[in-house]
Each structure stands twice: as C-alpha cells, then as structure tokens.
Symmetry: C2
Subunit: 223 residues, 2 copies
C-alpha cells in the first residue's frame, strides 16, 4: 500500500491523488503541515515539498508530483493520461507545466498565502491588493482554458489527460479559497462540472482544511 | 532543422541545448529578449517563457524545457538521459524538478534579476542583501550536490542523466553571474570540470550576454 504525505489544500498532492484514483490505485494519507515540517518528513524529502509517496512494502520513495505521475504512467497501463504521439504527449506536458508553474505562481500560491497561511499561521488579514491581483490573473488564465475548450473536448486534446487532472487540482484549491469567479467562463465551468461529478474527484472535494472554509457551492457539481 | 527561441542566460534553454547536443541534434538559434517579448513569440507561446522549439519543416511547436526533453527522450534513442527502471527514472525527474524549481527560485532567478535585469533594463545597482541570500542558498544546495556525488558517479545514479544536464544549465548561469563560490565543494567542482570539457557544453560557455560579463575562470575547465 502507498503512503502519501500531503495536506488537503496542496494542489500538487491533489494532482497525484486524482491520477491515482483514475488509475484505480489506492493509498493511505499522512498529513504533513507545510509550515511545520516534521524531521521525519525532511529526512524523506530535504526539499520539504509535498507530495511524497512511499511504498510501504519496500520503502521506495517518490518525490515531486510530475515525477510521480510519470512513474504511474510508465508502470500502470490502465487509463493512460499522457497518451498519443510524442507531439500529443508534449502538448499535455506543456499544459501541465503551465498549470504547475504559471497558474500556481500567479493564482494558487498567493491565495494559499493570503487566505490559508496568514489566517492559520500569522493570524493576520489577507492583503486586499494581492487577492485582487490573484483573482484578476485567475480570470486571464481561465480565458485561456475557455479558448482551449472551445477547440478541444478536453484541455490536452480529444481525451482526458494529465492536463485536465492538473487543471482540476489547481482550480479546485483556488475555488476552495474563494479565488474563482465562474461568471463569463462557460466552457471552463461546464468542463469543471464534469470533473466534479467524477467518483475519482469527489473525495478531494469532501475534505476540509481546519479553520479555512470553502464557499457553499464548492463541492456541488451543479454550481 | 529545429529553430530554438532562447537567450544566452536562460537556464531552461541551456538545458535543452545541452541535451540536444548530447543526442547529436542540431538547431538554429533565435534570440528572444525576456523583458521585451515580440508579438511573434507571444503568438507561439502565450506564457512568454523560453525555450520554444519550432520544427521548421512542419511548424510543430514544442514548449517548456521538460516537455521538450521528454519529447527527445521518446523520439531519439541515442544517448538516453532518463534511463533505467521506472524508479531510477523517477529519481532523475525528482532531481530535475528540484533544480528547475527550487534551485532556480532560490539562486538563479534572483541572480538574473539582480545582476542582469537590473543592470540592462533598470540601470540600477543590485541589492546586496538579495545577492548574499542567493549565494548563501547556492552554498546550501551545492552541499546537497556534494552529498549526492559522494555516493554516486553522476547526480542521478551510475550514468550521466538529465539531472546532470539540468544542474549544469542552472549552475553555469549562476556561475556566469558570479553567484557560485567553488571553495569547499570539491565533489561538485570535480563533476563540473568534467561537464565543462564536454564538446556538447563548450558552445554554451563561449556565449556572452551583452553588457554583463562572466568571471575570468567561467569557461575554463581547469578553474
């Protein structure tokens, strides 16, 4: 059985959990608090980042969400999520990198800082300007998702891929933190309604971070 | 023939160029200035990041350094750089992600900002505190490279891999910008001397950014 070190609002852990669920893989959870890493955790991953996945049978340790997803793509045939020609696979990886790096940097990281870290750790109020900036950038990035979904059935092409998994991971965390305005983004909203009703994704939507609560519509497929 | 959009001190472009040279692939260069992206370039990559690689025969476009490296791993058999078992491949990808994300964020990005952007774009002096912080973190990260190289022939294991390529890309940019103190890092210094003498890497060391000059020893394999 795999043991996954994560915390409920870590988008990179959500990406791995969503992929594992789609591939029919089970795991146990170990809660890791990002602002107070345990020594045991830092021994596993000196970089201190979640997710970390440990094979409890042989102790094998996997670190970094993309390395973990590529590992399961190589070892589990069921439901391929980086599929097709090398060019099609490069397109999926381009979108995943854009989500994990640009969308995370512009939207998810500032929301986590302002609405989770400040609230839980610093007992401080969020900075209104930083929140406005993150939500403005979220809007621009969702315009791009709308554009992709106007031309394709799924974000990476004709079938569901790791690009959809990564987008759902980041958007769901931003949505939990009240950073997403769904108005004016019909294609992305319709796509996300489909994601929300997948049995593989529902457990993620049911989890709660202490102290910080999501908007009422957060876990409803019809929103 | 491939056309690569890049600039001389972009570590992600260096990673792709070093990999392509090791695999015996040739390319032409298109200079892209990161603080003044052309409309043509933003049409190619709305995210505005280098490198972007275009196949001039059929117009196929590859974006994101890791997506490009994975593409060539899948399409060019010669000199595999993500090799071995799935676990060994996950270890290479873990290190590449650590270099591209953590080492870039802590060391290379601040050095590029303080010593390139401020000099060329803002005509301002670097912030001494920010430089000290980047160099202190470089030192910590090189301790970890020393530790790896005390236990392995190459960073990712027994053979040269994409982890070595990525490390050389980031370290060489940091070194160009005067951010690396090689004293006290014998294993990493010896490893980098070997990298510097590779014919695939020498063209990168011969290039210069306008206005910003490297230290004297920068391109010497014996330093």
């Amino acid at each position: 059985m795999w043991l996954l070190y994560q915390f409920p609002l870590c988008p990179f852990s959500r990406k791995v959990r969503f992929l594992m669920a789609e591939k029919g893989l089970t795991y146990e959870l170990a809660r890791e608090t990002p602002w107070a890493s345990s020594d045991e955790f830092l021994d596993l991953n000196p970089a201190g980042t979640t997710p970390v996945l440990v094979d409890q049978v042989n102790g094998a340790t996997l670190i970094d969400s993309q390395a973990i997803c590529e590992y399961f793509e190589e070892t589990v045939e069921q439901f391929p999520l980086i599929a097709g020609s090398p060019l099609a696979r490069a397109e999926v990886r381009r979108l995943v990198a854009w989500l994990d790096q640009i969308v995370y940097r512009d939207v998810v990281a500032p929301l986590l800082h302002e609405r989770m870290m400040k609230r839980i750790v610093h007992r401080a109020s969020p900075d209104a300007g930083a929140l406005r900036d993150a939500m403005r950038k979220a809007n621009t990035h969702m315009d791009y998702l709308d554009y992709l979904l106007d031309h394709r059935s799924w974000l990476g092409g004709g079938t569901m891929s790791l690009a959809d998994i990564a987008a759902a991971a980041h958007l769901s965390v931003a949505d939990y933190l009240g950073g997403i305005d769904w108005e004016g983004h019909r294609p992305t909203k319709r796509w996300y309604a489909g994601i929300k009703s997948r049995p593989s994704f529902r457990p993620l939507l049911a989890e709660r971070m202490e102290i910080v609560s999501p908007p009422k519509y957060y876990d409803q497929p019809d929103f």
